[in-house]
Assembly symmetry: C2
Homo-oligomer: 519 residues x 2
């Protein structure tokens, strides 16, 4: 069996049966082998940033990795930004990068570059598989590393000759690494801190924003009288009616500072200490208030759910007793299209079990509030801050969860990074509704321009670099050009109806929401 | 003066007055400073791959660098593929990458990554400018390094605090490095090899495919009875009626092998030894035939024109005596749209002084032949093999040469990588006509799938990964969605008229040419 066959069969045997691909010549053996292994679903993306973002979305929802198939260094380069987001989300991804044949590398052919140096930036595990006999073993290790915990991007560099040489037989799955046991000392410290009655908060991140961990955290919070905070950009937050409401830290450091003010204990649960997203002149980078002790409950490879349950029990928190988000939806909005009426429209119609992919930026400011009491749903965000994440993540999430509706809240400037994802959605017939927040500007940067205190900031030449209105982008035409039906509602009522229809009808849709240019 | 002002003023004083930008928060000081330095033209791109490709196109045509302005590691990642092409073209580029404030780096904020590791892949020079007082000096050195020879991507990493702190005064230009003098030993070897009367060829690359160097090479070729070959993908080839015709090596190794067969001497002029673009089972990587001696006339930082003139004189080649391409155009084509009628249409109307950006892939096979005798023009190609280069390079070339027409031959699959360039063309009102070669497939990969000899290659699942027809892309809608007028001619006559009109009218146009799905 050649290396390509061994790789694909080993991946499938290890639970990796979706591959987001944009192959080139060096990956043709992999492509050719697909006909012999129908268990592997290959999804074509028109750009590698779509493939890697889709793998991120898939991994976040499926809880197991998808593979990618990228073409040498430049293909990996195109996928770096969304692998960066996946790294920050600790999403399991098996990142397969084709390379020149091993013996071709010294010839420095035009596409040659240092793939490993690029990959190191985003990968928790890297292997350059230069011998055909190692393909099966390396593939097993890649999946195991990707799954974690913690999850990571595991990059396998695959020279072309390794794919066409005889490579033995595929391997079945290795035992997963499994989470590390609970650290009694950390547990005791946290219990003691929370028992003291001083102002405290839990900061949930990683895999602590859902499932058992989330419920246990809510029990702890109630028993200790502590706040339940979430990181600014969670990978996947479960929320909605009946679930514990988590207060996400604000993106702007001033807001986060206010949320953390007065705390004496901050318990990190699978989350890093809160920091300012960017630096600003004269403002602090770290956001932990003076006098506040920080306690990490679990290491990155720890079992957050188990640790939280121990803490809850130690605090005597009764099972099932925690604050629950009351059900409630905003009224169907009327009037003009504004950030608020958009939020209300989403809140009015969001279906149960929806997967919301949020790259809405400023125009989406009010949507979390308007959807808080909607039926339970998942919320996926821009974990690494590298824009162009939303449409691809929505694509991958839809493939991971074909029975659920995906709602992608996508800002216009961010959409233009990886708009090609719409074509993959059409090709695969995915149930994704994209709400295009069309304010014709990089509005977040207009705010940031003022915040960095730039001398003379905001002159016409500076502002023109933040505006997308000359010419205006026609997202209805752009979506249709990629085979996705699109509408442009004229007011909030039309928007609500358009959303309902798009969510009810199978296949992808785009709703272009023309918002005022300024918030 | 703050660091941002010092940087921009120093760049302008050193001849860098165009900046292709997609800024974020960490670059806001740079943006704010633009209003104070009107000599710097900032061009907004909707994606970093457009910005870096435009800088490549600008540098190839202007002969001096443009700057970029990219947002941390992910922004650089998005720009890597076209910087890879620029590296292979040895285009001068001053690649400015904003970073977090120096003191913010240890906090590992979400957008933090190893910018230097990414940059090393594509840069001939890198500097992490961590002190405001070094900005001016580093900017001068960056320009000097970028200009070369050889030209390179010079990357300047610019922390946000360095841009807002007091940074002294800007600096004027340093003396350029200048080319190394002629190497008498190399010269003598080449003269001796060419005098012997054995079969010989010159292989022109880099800056030897134009101007004085090209003419001197043609004199040498005529005097020595040697072939005049060009590298597969020249950065900028001058060609057309009255100019020396250069026979480019074929992309497929079989063709290049045939072109090189029987040679006893191959003189490299600013070009690397010929290698196969990819490896194929059982075929050689290096393409120099057995028994052929390879002579490098100049080192990478040498003066190819001067060296060639010395060789020509030593061979007694009379000035002005060399083979010239006869003038001639194909007849205006009639009938259906095919690769041949497309080529004839371009050949029939290509204006004098046009800049042709060629990312046409298989559909463009016949265009070089059909334009060989057109009035003199420049031909810019996919130097590094990283697709998504054409539309951005055309954008930058148009900014470098506002008095010339740019014709971009763009394959559909490659177009979808960096289609956002159309918006920048519209915004800047650039004279770019894009001929979209729309065959609804990655046709080159369909050929490569067969060539790699994949077992069972070409099954329906493999082939479906190489096809772009489900759904079909509507490039007229896509272009209009970004503010670029577009037409879809029905036959070769309409195509010829559409091309003439698009080239005559100011501003960008797109002509969608529906070609047969197979060559």
């Amino acid at each position: 069996m050649n290396g390509a066959h061994v790789l694909i069969r080993t991946l499938v045997a290890n639970g990796v049966d979706v591959c987001f691909s944009n192959p080139g010549t060096s990956e043709m053996q992999f492509v050719a082998a697909l006909d012999d292994v129908p268990e592997m679903r290959a999804v074509l993306a028109l750009f590698e940033g779509v493939a890697t973002g889709a793998a991120d979305g898939y991994g976040r929802m499926a809880g197991r990795p998808a593979a990618t198939l990228l073409h040498l260094g430049p293909g990996l380069g195109n996928g770096i930004a969304n692998l960066h987001n996946a790294r920050r989300a600790r999403t399991p991804v098996v990142n397969v990068v084709g390379d020149h044949a091993t013996y071709h590398r010294p010839f420095d052919a035009p596409l040659t570059s240092d793939i490993e140096a690029l990959a190191r930036n985003v990968s928790g595990w890297i292997r350059d598989t230069t011998r055909p006999g190692d393909v099966a073993r390396d593939a097993v290790e890649a999946v195991r590393a990707a799954v974690g915990p913690p999850g990571c991007v595991a990059t396998m560099i695959l020279p072309a000759d390794v794919t066409w040489e005889e490579a033995g037989e595929p391997l079945g799955p290795a035992a997963p690494a499994g989470a590390r046991g609970v650290d009694d000392a950390a547990l005791e410290t946290v219990v003691k801190a929370l028992r003291g009655g001083e102002p405290a908060a839990l900061l949930l991140g990683g895999r602590a924003t859902r499932g058992r961990a989330l419920v246990a955290a809510a029990r702890v919070a109630r028993a200790a009288g502590a706040k339940l905070l979430g990181e600014v950009f969670p990978a996947r937050l479960e929320r909605g009616a009946g679930l514990p409401p988590v207060e996400r830290l604000g993106y702007f450091a001033e807001f986060a500072t206010a949320q953390l003010e007065g705390l004496r204990h901050l318990v990190l649960v699978d989350a890093p200490p809160p920091v300012s997203f960017f630096a600003y002149p004269g403002r602090p980078s770290g956001l932990v208030p003076p006098g506040c002790e920080v306690h990490a409950l679990v290491p990155p490879d720890g079992d957050a759910a188990l640790a939280l349950e121990h803490v809850a029990d130690a605090l005597g928190a009764p099972p099932g007793e925690y604050v629950r988000q009351p059900a409630g939806r905003p009224a169907r909005p009327t009037g003009g299209l504004t950030a608020q009426s958009l939020a209300d429209a989403v809140g009015a119609v969001l279906p149960e079990g929806a997967i919301v992919v949020d790259e809405a930026q400023t125009g989406g400011l009010f949507v979390p509030g308007a959807t808080a009491g909607a039926p339970p749903h998942d919320w996926l965000t821009l974990t690494g801050g590298a824009i162009g994440q939303g449409l691809p993540v929505a694509t991958g999430a839809a493939i991971a969860c074909p029975d659920r509706k995906v709602l992608c809240l996508e800002a216009d400037g961010s959409a233009m990074y990886t708009l090609q994802a719409l074509w993959t959605q059409a090709r695969e017939g995915l149930d994704v509704t994209t709400v295009l927040l069309d304010n014709r500007s990089y509005a977040i940067l207009e705010i940031e321009l003022a915040r960095v205190g730039a001398a003379g900031g905001g002159g016409p030449r500076a502002r023109s670099l933040l505006e997308l209105d000359d010419p205006e982008l026609d997202f209805v035409a752009l979506a249709r050009g990629m085979g996705v039906g699109a509408t442009r509602p004229a007011d909030a009522q039309e928007l609500t109806v358009a959303l309902e229809r798009a969510l009810a009808e199978p296949g992808p849709h785009l709703v272009d929401v023309r918002l005022p240019a300024r918030l």
